[in-house]
């Protein structure tokens, strides 16, 4: 089998890639694979870094962490560790006891001393209208993303099928 990218060299690296919830298999030669992995590092490098950092927090963290979820946006702490991004500004309070030591490790401090906005969040316009719950489809997409990151491709394929089914029904 020849490399999918250059089409010249025999493919020795086989990769499952998911873009916009579409799964694709890629067969690459060593050179193209290296270029591809640089591209992927760009997307996941930070998440890996964060996952590594938050593990440095020690054993205490693993207890009680399972199932910890931000009530405002539905993101779990497990989700955060995998994707390296929080779900909303409320996550900072939902995961405070884990995030504070993490912030200290990243920045050497967890106390802001810079500028402040004119408009205090509590005085801000009500955003109730858009704080809608995550739709089932979106929940599935998030699960798919996690399954891919954990390299659980069978689970990913199942989720992908469920998503397709839901999309067919026209649900958003």
């Amino acid at each position: 089998m020849l490399c999918d990218i250059c089409g010249k060299v025999v493919a020795t690296v086989h990769l499952t890639e998911i873009i916009d919830d579409q799964m694709a298999e890629l067969h690459l030669c060593e050179n193209c694979a290296r270029a591809k992995s640089m591209e992927m590092e760009q997307q996941f490098g930070l998440a890996d870094l964060l996952a590594g950092l938050s593990n440095m927090g020690g054993q205490v963290e693993t207890e009680g962490m399972a199932g910890l979820k931000c009530p405002a946006c539905g993101l779990t702490y497990e989700n955060f560790k995998k994707i390296g991004r929080l779900g909303c500004s409320e996550c900072y309070w939902s995961f405070k006891s884990y995030l504070n030591p993490l912030l200290k490790k990243i920045h050497g401090s967890n106390q802001h001393i810079g500028k402040s906005p004119i408009n205090k969040p509590q005085e801000s316009i009500r955003l109730q209208a858009i704080k809608t719950k995550i739709s089932p489809l979106q929940e599935l997409r998030n699960q798919l993303r996690l399954a891919i990151q954990k390299e659980e491709f069978e689970k990913a394929a199942e989720l992908r099928d469920k998503i397709k089914e839901l999309e067919k029904k026209g649900e958003t």
Binding site: D20, M38, E39, E41, Q42, Q43, G45, L46, L50, A72, C73, L75, I83, G84, R85, L86, G87, C88, S89, E90, Y92, L99, L102, L103, I106, H107, G108, S109, N110, Q111, H112, I113, G114, K115, S116, P117, I118, N119, K120, P121, S124, I125, L127, A129, I130, K131, T132, I134, S135, Q138, N142, T172
Partner: protein
């Protein structure tokens, strides 16, 4: 991607062509230390309070965010005359064109959903909407001028904070999708041209020292890119626990030292290896003036040598600003915009060589 209404695509083409005609602020080569420092950039990450961050938001929330921010921006005094573009209205070349001009990140071009960009007159300010954070505002200035970049962005940020409910806490500062940006949400970056440190093989020592001080180094096109053409982008990593002025002063301190090192290396080269240096510079000039086919990697390497020659007074006939412009105009999307059509890699290599010859071919 759906098809765009013709009147919209016509307007976009006009707006992008206007950009093409002007020199980006950061390439003007007009600021302090512009022989070594190409540009200074400051970006602030801001989010709307309690609204899911872009990667976690649903379609409705994403649309709402874009609308809300667009409204605030269009009412802003400084940003009133800006261009506003939805990423879903742009084709691949348009997007790459904006990335090449450093107006937006490569990541912003990847998934268009509810993403938009605001570009101020003269391309000094750009605001990415729904990138990793709801707002990523950046100011670019030519040369070593972080303080002026900060003054501009600080004013815009303050004025927008009166209209938009930014996610903020007294304790943790501005709350960002990634905790590595929390606090000030600020990243200051300086783009340096360091050919002499590379030629004298001292660059790795310098970069290692920078990394120890919690600064990061990237190439010409941000995260994950290689340092093509001897360009290095240095930025702060820490955004919490220091105020904005302190962060800027720290970066300035580091940059001043690097400038000094580069100048020392340039002096050493001109004194001890003048012939080798002149040979490399004149060869680069020769290739650029006479090539009929040239790829972008070689172009950047050769332009880097030409620029060094100009800095050292070896090349006198070509203006530094023209060299700076060529770095951008010879990029793939720019070439295709100039030609007004799609070109494959071989066609681009021919057009690139022709463009360079037409600009510097008959000079000195």
């Amino acid at each position: 991607m759906g098809s765009i209404r013709p009147e919209v695509s016509g307007l976009i083409e006009m707006q992008l062509n206007d950009l093409l005609k002007q020199t980006s602020e950061w390439l003007k080569s007009s600021g302090p230390n512009s022989e070594i420092v190409i540009s200074s950039r400051i970006r602030l990450a801001r989010n709307l309070d309690k609204v899911p961050f872009p990667h976690w938001a649903n379609k409705k929330q994403g649309e709402w965010t874009t609308e809300m921010i667009y409204k605030a921006v269009s009412e802003d005094e400084y940003l009133k005359k800006s261009i506003y573009l939805k990423l879903s209205d742009l084709d691949a070349i348009d997007k790459q064109f904006l990335v090449e001009r450093h107006l937006m990140s490569h990541e912003h071009a990847l998934k268009p959903d509810n993403k938009a960009i605001v570009i101020s007159e003269e391309e000094i300010v750009s605001i990415m909407i729904n990138e990793e954070d709801h707002l990523r505002m950046q100011v670019m200035k030519s040369g070593f001028d972080l303080s002026e970049a900060w003054n501009i962005i600080n004013n815009i940020d303050t004025s927008l904070s009166a209209k938009l409910p930014f996610a903020f806490s007294k304790e943790l500062g501005y709350l960002t999708a990634c905790p590595t940006n929390a606090g000030t949400g600020m990243r200051g970056s300086v783009m340096l041209h360091l050919p002499a440190l590379v030629m004298t093989k001292q660059i790795n020592k310098v970069l290692a020292a920078i990394a120890k001080l919690s600064f990061t180094t990237r190439g010409l096109y941000g995260e994950g890119t290689q340092a093509a053409g001897n360009f290095f982008q240095i930025s702060n990593q820490v955004s919490l626990g220091q105020n904005e002025e302190e962060i800027i002063e720290n970066i300035k301190g580091i940059i001043r030292q690097i400038i000094e090192q580069e100048n020392m290396a340039r002096n050493a080269l001109t004194q001890n290896n003048r012939q080798i240096l002149e040979d490399r510079i004149y060869r680069a000039s020769g290739i650029l003036k006479s090539a009929y086919i040239i790829n972008s990697a070689e172009t950047i390497e050769m332009l880097s040598m030409l620029r060094l020659g100009q800095d050292l007074g070896i090349i006198k006939s070509i203006d530094r600003r023209l060299i700076n412009e060529l770095f951008i105009l010879t990029q793939p999307a720019h070439l295709q915009k100039i030609e007004g059509k799609r070109l494959n890699a071989q066609e681009r290599d021919v057009k690139r060589a022709a463009l360079i010859r037409s600009r510097i071919g008959n000079i000195g």
